[in-house]
Amino acid sequence: PVAKRAVAEAAQHDKVPRPVGFVPPPPPCPGKIRHFDI
């Protein structure tokens, strides 16, 4: 019988180890501020 692994456990195992110093890309929006924000 196939036993369904607990999600947390599966997530733990499936989580791809991130390299040290990994910086997630900035969100695509909103974009940069060209002058100042009011």
Partner: protein, 255 residues
């Protein structure tokens, strides 16, 4: 074979987004007849809806800032200074729908609203800065009228008529002063003719129009003083047929 992954959503700082935003800002400035030119401050959001091969609909949310160039000024937008925070900045929020067909952009719809920064924000940074005043404030109207009369009484140039008041700021401390900016147009009268009968002076027809811009500062207390500076742009061929300017409109929204 696995389906091709969907294209990554456009980022707000991607070159394609910036090109669309620049196109949209030029369209907005080119189709406005009131107030000032606006410059892009930030692309808040972009959404692309493919319609077919090389045919996309783009929805842009833009954050603009007012510049010091009146909308009738021939100065290119890139040479227009964005009004600083302490000059009581005005922000424009625009939603624009564009079509990109075979790489060519066109604006299908645009809606903008402008609003000034809050007085609290300005005073927090600059306690003595003048603040924007209502364009129909009696002291503002009196200052514009005095400034235009003063210019017309001193100049050998054509007699100028008021087109619209662009902005006005008032200060009560440490002195009581009013500063105004307004758009003007040359009439078919010389200043001397206008002294005879100003009512007969008409704005020049569109093909000879000569618009200009005046700034004036009036000290009210502790003493009275008035300084005026008017510049005419010279005749410009309108970029495309625009609705005629109402006589004394001071509309602020473009839509």
């Amino acid at each position: 074979a696995p389906a091709a992954p969907p294209p990554a959503p456009l980022g707000c700082d991607d070159p394609e987004s910036e090109a669309a935003a620049e196109f949209a800002v030029n369209y907005i400035n080119g189709h406005s007849r009131h107030g000032y030119k606006f410059a892009l401050n930030r692309i808040d959001n972009i959404r692309v809806v493919p319609q077919g091969l090389n045919d996309d609909i783009m929805y842009l949310e833009l954050d603009l800032l007012e510049t010091t160039c009146h909308i009738l000024s021939p100065t290119p937008l890139e040479n227009c200074t964005v009004r600083s925070f302490t000059q009581h900045a005005v922000e424009g929020d625009c939603d624009v729908k564009l079509q990109k067909l075979n790489g060519k952009l066109s604006v299908l719809a645009s809606k903008c609203h402008s609003h000034a920064d809050s007085s609290e924000d300005v005073l927090r940074v600059c306690p003595d800065c003048p603040l924007l005043a209502s364009l129909n404030n009696t002291e503002v109207l009196a200052t514009v009228s005095a400034a235009l009369n003063d210019h017309n009484s001193r100049t050998a140039d054509p007699y100028l008529r008021l087109l619209e008041i662009g902005r006005a700021r008032m200060q009560y401390h440490p002195v009581h002063s009013v500063s105004v900016e307004f758009a003007v147009a040359a009439t078919n009268c010389s200043a001397a003719e206008a002294k005879e009968n100003a009512g007969a002076c008409q704005l020049l027809p569109e093909d000879q129009s000569n618009f200009g811009f005046c700034t004036a500062s009036r000290l009210i207390h502790p003493s009275e003083d008035l300084s005026v500076n008017c510049q005419l742009y010279g005749h410009q061929v309108p970029p495309h047929q625009l609705p005629p300017l109402p006589e004394h409109s001071t509309g602020q929204d473009t839509s």
